[in-house]
Symmetry: D3
Subunit: 241 residues, 6 copies
């Protein structure tokens, strides 16, 4: 199967991935993650409080918020703070990020603390949610290292790793890591979140054009698995682990 | 594989499905859909206008809104109208319903009209979004029949059918059509939307407890396929088609 | 005085009234009340908390919320949750429902509990607020029976009964229990809430066309009194009292 | 029947009423109305536009908005602009004011114009809504005179007059024009809006304590009628009519 | 330098200033301040609570809210409560008023109390924020006297006085105390808040047309100083101090 | 006068200023501006529309929005989009940025276009509004160059330059370009916006501790003038002008 991807990549080729830690100075974890031209700043903030439903239970919480600078995109989009509410897409993405990161955290080991992962898109070119998950994991690990460095916690609450990539069917061919040009023209778009044990954390596939068949799904999952392995390598390299 | 489901059902057994048309009298389509104790009222409303981004293009629009009566659930939840905004879960579900129904509509054949599917949960017992999609399809067909009966459109804009079911891994065993007791205790929860050609429209799987493996995914998709076939039968029976 | 009512009813004839208890299963009281084609689901929810202004006083609270499904009406109206606020009409009606039900409750006997009456209109054909009051009373009694069944309270906090009906002047003739066709064309519209001792709890009359004179008011109050007696019968029959 | 009213008034005695025109200079009508210590500033603003539902029909619109300065009351209440929404009581009152004033306006004679009556309570001591209606009528007449003075309209769109007063049962005795001390302690509270032909425009009675009987209602309506006649005199005197 | 000011005033001439105490009866301080046709009602409300960030510190708080009646201006502006939010101009002004009044208050001497200054513009003709500051100071002193009269505080928390005036360059000439006609046509507009020791509390200058030069700034500050001295006289006269 | 500034700078020493153009790729102008550790991303977006009040007048508009990433600061602050409104400080700053940039734009030469300057703080260490103005000017020039490169406009709408710096009195000594440590401890804080002709565009001085005297004001204005000259050099160097 061959296809001319707008970027000239082969179907199974990811974009260049960069993970830059300590991008800003105040946050306990601060990571700029780039999937090609997509750039997301992920900060992890530690606070000594938990939401009301967890108070007094000795457990911590991990949550996420997502935002897009108004001109991260080709044309300017309204600022959500000015419109007075977060859109459905924003809420959906930040729920996804929070949920997937909680999947690799032992909340008892965290104690009564909240770690908030703010994922702000500085520049968008497709795949902002998968980049955000991949980068937020690194920011989370940094925040936990900061806590351990101060001896506030003794056990490591993070087990394993999580990373995410998009896959899709572009002009009839399954391809890995869609950029904006592909994303806006593809038939099927799927976001896959996995852990480093090879298990699925989250699978979200949408048929944009026609419905996708079982064998297409299988091909997409195979590509995603390849891509996510590379992301685990990039995370480990960044973390010096 | 055996498991004691709270309802006494076998793993591959759906709840009793009922689809009652003309449940209320004003809407162009009005369907009460029940998956066991889950009851959702789905109305289809036809309006001769389209959103701004479609004006003058000769195409129609299909969209959905979702709501839950405050005491549809075990404990009362706040009324979203009183809180002044729809929650993330609500927005996520109504985006899903709209997206999946648009997947079986030829919007050119609809003309410059909007069909809004209001899915309001009267009683919740797990699977409200899959029941809503399944019932909203029937309401949509009724609204289109109403339009054709008045000769406002000539071609049928609905092609094929869509239906949805949830599957999950409960106490280690893949089961079909989760009720609330299972949903709140299961390890993996997946919503599957398919068309009657056997293609996937949407796939949303979430690992609540531990990550799910490829073979588990395969088993879940098999169960979903079986369940959705029964839903297509129920839709056809209701529609007298 | 004769008048051709759109429904063919005589001036002093009410629509058929149905009161169906246990309509949904989770609420402590759940009543579907129908005044002809007007159908309102009234649920009563018991919670062990009171608003801030009552805390520590040993008294309970009874309050109401009102909603209309978007397509309960002839043409679809916007969902208040989506618009981000409840309209003036909604707030006015739910304040009325709460106020009139508190008029038959001894809040000391209730203890520090809140009973919330959610009145959601599934189908509207005039008189939704009067149906809601009449049905909410039955849901309230059911919730109180539930509390007494669990021996959480010893004295019955509900004294007497309340019910409500609309009256109006349609084509010059005073008529009882306006349906939508009459309501939108009448000169005067009055909602009357009474208790079973024959006292007035609330009286709200509005001249839509020309002002109404004292003798018209007298005739309307006479009709309302007749109608409300029938509603008390229907409530008693439903409650098996 | 005798009762010691907190103010020392007899049961059928109104508070001193003052109506001061041209209280502020920008509005087309600007009236400060005082019922004793209750002071409401009513301005009438003319704009050459109508709401969407009236466009192109050649008819005008009359509407009202109501507000209370935060410290118009004994204790400071939150500013509605700061809370981000108008409360149910505010919406209810401003709907009432607009409705009752439209009852004396021929909207065709007004042409495609909107007159907005802003009723802002500078100081509250009971009866703010009845004072507002009484004063807004005068501001409305002034705005219409301004239009006629500029020859923008030829026919007078205002026919008759409207005024409002509260009545209630205080310590068992029907009394006229409740002040705050009576309002917060009375058993029944009724607002009556009449026109100068002796017809009722609006009647809103609420049993705060026990239900009120028919003979009490009759007594209250008699008192209201007496009070409103005095208000018509005060309006006429103010308008030099 | 001569200039024809719309009002006929000389460049260094202020409008007539009136300060009327006890304008309304419920507030602990209630002042109507008029700078010519600009009229602002300033009330001071004392409450026995402080914002969360001050709880338990033994200090008080002074804050302000600002509003404009819809028809205080030449054309009606939307009611902020109806629009559901306060505009940027409103927030900016109320922050300014609160900040400048805190500059003359010893918050320890106030104890754990909040004094809220509500400044509501009844009629606007330029300079509403400077009138508000000047009047709010008097209301604040009255509220403090009320507290001292009740012996709730022993030391006077107010030290010195603050007042404010606007200055600007109108048709090339520096002028004092701009009215609306000047304000909407001037090149530079500056609000100056000073204390009675001759120090600056706040200085806000904006070049509306061309940038202003250093010598213009010097002239403006000279005028402001003259004007504010007159305001201190007016405050003292009003307070009988 | 000597003072130990936390950063070790001399009183008249600015922080290191960096201006990096083309920081992101989609916007017509995109500038990262750094005043020491304060980093603000300023993008300029060109749109072919103007606000309603300018339609059909042949003039353009320049406006600004300001935001702060939640963890740009020492402790995390709430995301304004999640809280559902922009705070007073945000609105005040974005009004200031828009106003000062309009002061160097000939809006007729711009034609019916809007240029929106989005200033988003990635990292805060004092002086974010002055950095934003200084950087936004460069982004504005880039957007205008882009328009001229496409020959959409013929005359340059930007005349002169604007830049801004803060000055303050720290431990009794006037200092230039406050960082966070100084800002939170200083007695007087002043933001000065000037054009390259040496005129003042905006002056905002606030006494945080005690009031400031005329001679202190003079010293601050002298420092600001020195600092802003350096900023004009940095802007020119960045623009290659």
């Amino acid at each position: 199967m061959t296809v001319a991807r707008p970027s000239g990549r082969t179907p199974e080729q990811m974009r260049r991935v960069r993970i830059e830690r300590a991008f800003t100075r105040h946050a306990e974890g601060s990571v700029l993650v780039c999937f090609g031209e997509t750039r997301v700043l992920c900060t992890a903030s530690v606070e000594n409080r938990v939401p009301a439903f967890l108070r007094g239970k000795g457990e911590g919480w991990v949550t996420a918020e997502y935002g897009m600078l108004p001109r991260a995109t080709h044309t300017r989009s309204d600022r959500e703070a000015a419109r007075g509410k977060q859109g459905g897409r924003t809420l959906e993405i930040q729920r996804l990020i929070g949920r997937t990161l909680r999947a690799c955290v032992d909340r008892s080991a965290l104690g009564e603390r909240t770690i908030t992962l703010d994922c702000d898109v500085l520049q968008a070119d497709g795949g902002t949610r998968t980049a955000a998950i991949t980068g937020a994991y690194v920011a989370l690990v940094d925040a936990v290292r900061w806590l351990r460095g101060r001896r506030e916690i003794t056990r490591d609450p993070v087990f394993g790793a999580v990373a995410a990539v998009s896959v899709g069917i572009y002009k009839g061919v399954p391809v890995l890591d869609l950029d904006y040009a592909e994303d806006s023209a593809c038939d099927t778009d799927m976001n896959v979140v996995m852990n480093d044990g090879g298990g699925f954390i989250e699978l979200q596939g949408t048929a944009e054009g026609h419905a996708f068949r079982r064998e297409e799904l299988d091909a997409l999952l195979g590509l995603a698995d390849q891509g996510i392995r590379q992301l685990f390598d990039a995370q480990r390299a960044a973390l010096g682990a």
